[in-house]
């Protein structure tokens, strides 16, 4: 293969954009050798991140998270269900991650993206295993009624590190969640009580005691944060973009909780073998990133 040599020669005279397209790996490796990434970030730095709360008025809790241009919209709708017999005083959370065709050129209508169900499952595992929410708090009437929280996360713009952004938006949506005020009516159904108007509808339940007396928030006991890194040769790149993900394929995702315990660790495929020192550095990067994200979410709460 005479390719490496010829491209090295070419690289001096070829336009940067053309070189990036034709020899993406070489293009990146040239950058990496200078400890810099094409978008100007150092290797271990994540992109600008911000979170907005309560954008969807038809949901009970919602959040929009942006990491670089990766954008996630998460919303929670609370519905009432009959709890299962093995856990009569627990509610439930159902998580679903969607990648609509608007988010990326690779997703076409009618053919759901391959990664969507995988991320769905991982999110659902992380949220249930890290002890963030006490499902007992979702109980309304023991054995009769409990809350079912439908958490739907829509990817509006896919530019790498989808899991990180999805988890961040999910956590933010939970912090924004307001559990509605409800009461039990004569037919044994749970109905909402609106503070304003519609009194005639509620005539039959005004005497009944409200099951959930005031709007309340969930207590988030333990908050998970995650960081995805690319391992390529000796380099570790935090928070990859879609372009970087498509070129270098060894991804490691570390999920840490508030006390820096590892909740979930995932190395999906890729050709690179991971040494323990690399893993340690990934965890260290994730710990730093967790602090940043905590700060970002903390700023939100004050508002």
């Amino acid at each position: 293969m005479g390719l490496p040599d010829s491209c090295q020669d070419l690289s001096t005279e070829m336009e940067v954009d053309a070189f990036r397209r034709l020899f993406p790996l070489r293009f990146f490796e040239r950058h990496l050798s200078e400890s810099l990434r094409p978008d100007g970030r150092p290797l271990g730095k994540a992109r600008d991140t911000n979170v907005n709360l309560g954008l969807v008025s038809s949901a009970d809790g919602s959040a929009l998270a942006k990491i670089g241009s990766t954008t996630m919209l998460a919303a929670i709708r609370m519905e009432v269900m009959t709890p299962s017999t093995d856990s009569p005083d627990e509610g439930c959370i159902a998580v679903e991650f969607h990648m609509p065709p608007i988010c990326s050129p690779t997703v076409r209508p009618g053919r759901p993206a391959d990664e969507a169900p995988v991320i769905s499952k991982r999110l659902s595992d992380v949220i249930s295993s890290c002890d963030m929410i006490d499902l007992k708090e979702l109980c309304l009437v023991s054995g009769k009624a409990a809350w079912m929280g439908y958490l739907d996360i829509y990817c509006l713009d896919a530019d790498g590190a989808l899991f990180d952004a999805a988890l961040l938006s999910a956590v933010a949506a939970f912090s924004n969640l307001q559990i509605p005020v409800v009461a039990l009516n004569d037919n044994g159904r749970i109905v909402a009580i609106n503070g304003d108007g519609e009194q005639e509808n509620n005539a039959s339940i005004t005497e009944k005691e409200a099951v959930n007396k005031e709007k309340r928030k969930l207590t988030l006991k333990n908050i998970p944060f995650s960081l995805t890194c690319i391992l390529h040769k000796k380099y570790i790149l935090a928070d990859p973009t879609a372009e970087e993900e498509s070129i270098m394929d060894t991804l490691v995702t570390v999920v840490l909780d508030s006390s820096d315990q590892i909740v979930n660790f995932n190395k999906s495929g890729g050709s690179a073998l991971v040494g323990s020192s690399a893993i340690k550095s990934c965890v260290e990067l994730a710990r730093k990133r967790g602090k940043e994200l905590k700060q970002i979410l903390g700023d939100m709460d004050i508002d």
Binding site: S58, V95, P100
Partner: protein
């Protein structure tokens, strides 16, 4: 575990859905105000923004009151399902709703085939299809939140996204709807108004050429009412067209700097 429960457990929303026509118009037409306090011939304030999705060729976000829509345009790119040669381009449209788009819709966040075909019809007349032979332009819309007049907002937003993508068009495209309740005509109706309307009128037009590319009327209408509705829509369209033009200019000047 949780995901499986979703199918098995039957859940219901505790919210009460109004089943009767709200007593907004009985005899006293005059002292009634719209749910959001607008005048009858006043549109909701429009927020438009281009470049919402970085990975698309062009995209736009539109927010009219509670109606929030993102449209991405991809292409012109290789046709996936086209089998035969075509010397004009193809247009492929898709409209879907999020599961939380509307409290009454339930958890069916699905494709809206009807809207997709209406969007296609509204756009095909304005795009210069001959400028991209053999290829397809994909227009995908996602309704984040449904607050009434969803289809007109989707169409206008798609027009902006197409312009952002640099697809050649004869003109910008704007869509406006009018609801008829009793004797009143209301422009840009919200969900509550659409739910109890006697007739609806949706018009898609090219504001600078003042040409109508798509028109749908339902319910019973007299000719004077149609005249009035058309005039209302034309005025609103030209205003919306100006807003869209400003939005595109701003985006262009921002990228120059």
């Amino acid at each position: 575990m949780a995901a499986k429960q979703r199918d098995a457990a039957t859940t219901y929303s505790p919210r009460i859905i109004a089943r009767t026509r709200p007593p907004i118009f009985k005899d006293s037409d005059l002292d009634w105000t719209r749910p959001d306090g607008r005048g009858f011939h006043q549109c909701r304030p429009a927020l438009l923004q281009t470049g919402a999705v970085s990975s698309a060729s062009g995209s736009a976000y539109a927010e009219f009151g509670n109606t929030k829509v993102i449209v991405s345009v991809f292409g012109p790119r290789e046709s996936k399902k086209a089998t035969s040669y075509s010397d004009v381009g193809r247009l492929n449209c898709n409209v879907s709703y999020t599961t939380f788009a509307s409290p009454t819709l339930g958890s069916q966040g699905t494709d809206h085939k009807e809207y997709a075909s209406m969007l296609h019809k509204a756009l095909e007349g304005v795009i210069m299809m001959e400028t991209f032979p053999k290829t397809t332009v994909d227009v995908f819309a996602l309704v984040l939140e449904s607050g009434g007049s969803d289809l007109p907002v989707v169409i206008s937003c798609a027009g902006l996204a197409l312009a952002d993508a640099g697809i050649m068009m004869y003109d910008l495209i704007t869509a406006v709807s009018v609801s008829c309740i009793g004797k009143r005509l209301m422009i840009d109706p919200v969900t509550e108004e659409e739910g109890c309307e006697d007739g609806s009128f949706m018009m898609t037009c090219m504001p600078s050429r003042s040409e109508i590319t798509q028109l749908t009327i339902t319910g019973e209408w007299t000719t004077p009412n149609i005249n009035e509705a058309m005039q209302l829509c034309m005025d609103a369209s030209s205003k919306l067209g100006d807003i869209m033009r400003d939005c595109l200019k701003q985006a262009a000047s921002a990228s120059d700097e």
